[in-house]
Symmetry: C2
Subunit: 109 residues, 2 copies
DNA sequence: AGATATTGCAATCAACTGGTTGCCATAACG
DNA sequence: CGTTATGGCAACCAGTTGATTGCAATATCT
């Protein structure tokens, strides 16, 4: 399991780049942990499509699958990877601005 | 031009989800503004592929095309959209944590 | 004018993606 | 025991994507 921040951030970016995935995450945030079939009721896509997305989200660490009582698997949000991605973004933006300022110092008076 | 933060963030996520695109941005950050052919020398992909990526990056606002002297078009970094995306991420993470805490308050002692 | 370099556009291609349908294995409940 | 729900594959399909090659247009230098 590589804790490489860039790898984690990349997976978060991929996950958050898709509207359906954001909708799934939004539903989980709004109504709490849910199963794939629950989400299929709320969202306009099939359970299998949702299951695929949940697989990807779990891979990215944004969601955790918890086996429940009636053979149901409930998915819980995990915000940790998003914070990693956020810090990655912040570092990138800061780096860019620093280098741009440095260039300006060299070229301009 | 929609200033919708989510739309901007989505484009940033899409842009940053691709390694080649991150490499292009990295090269621009490291060596300053450059043309597509310049970048094609540094990176292991063709100029046309780079041009396509630059188009997408420009669409996302992460890069600005500045027509230069010898018909050359130099691309400059723009960090503003990244800061929007970063704040979008921060807001999401905060929202999740708030709701999770609220659920915990309801369910647990 | 001719040679060289640089950009833009189009076609093409393999791989990936988001999504659907269908089927099978369980497990709960009447 | 039969029915009903739930979840896990697997196949398949259309659209997108990352990347390539080829070529035309324009500009620069000798």
């Amino acid at each position: 399991m590589p804790a490489d921040p860039e790898a984690i951030a990349e997976q978060v970016f991929i996950a958050l780049a898709d509207p359906s995935r954001r909708a799934i995450l939004g539903a989980l945030a709004e109504h709490g942990p849910a199963t794939a079939t629950d989400l299929a009721d709320r969202l306009p896509i099939t359970r299998q499509a949702i299951a695929k997305h949940l697989g990807l989200l779990a891979e990215a660490g944004l969601v955790l699958a918890k086996p429940g009582e009636r053979r149901r698997v409930r998915y819980h949000l995990q915000s940790a990877p998003m914070q990693v991605a956020q810090q990655f973004l912040a570092a990138l933006a800061r780096d860019w601005d620093d280098r741009l300022a440095a260039l300006k110092d060299i070229l301009g008076p």
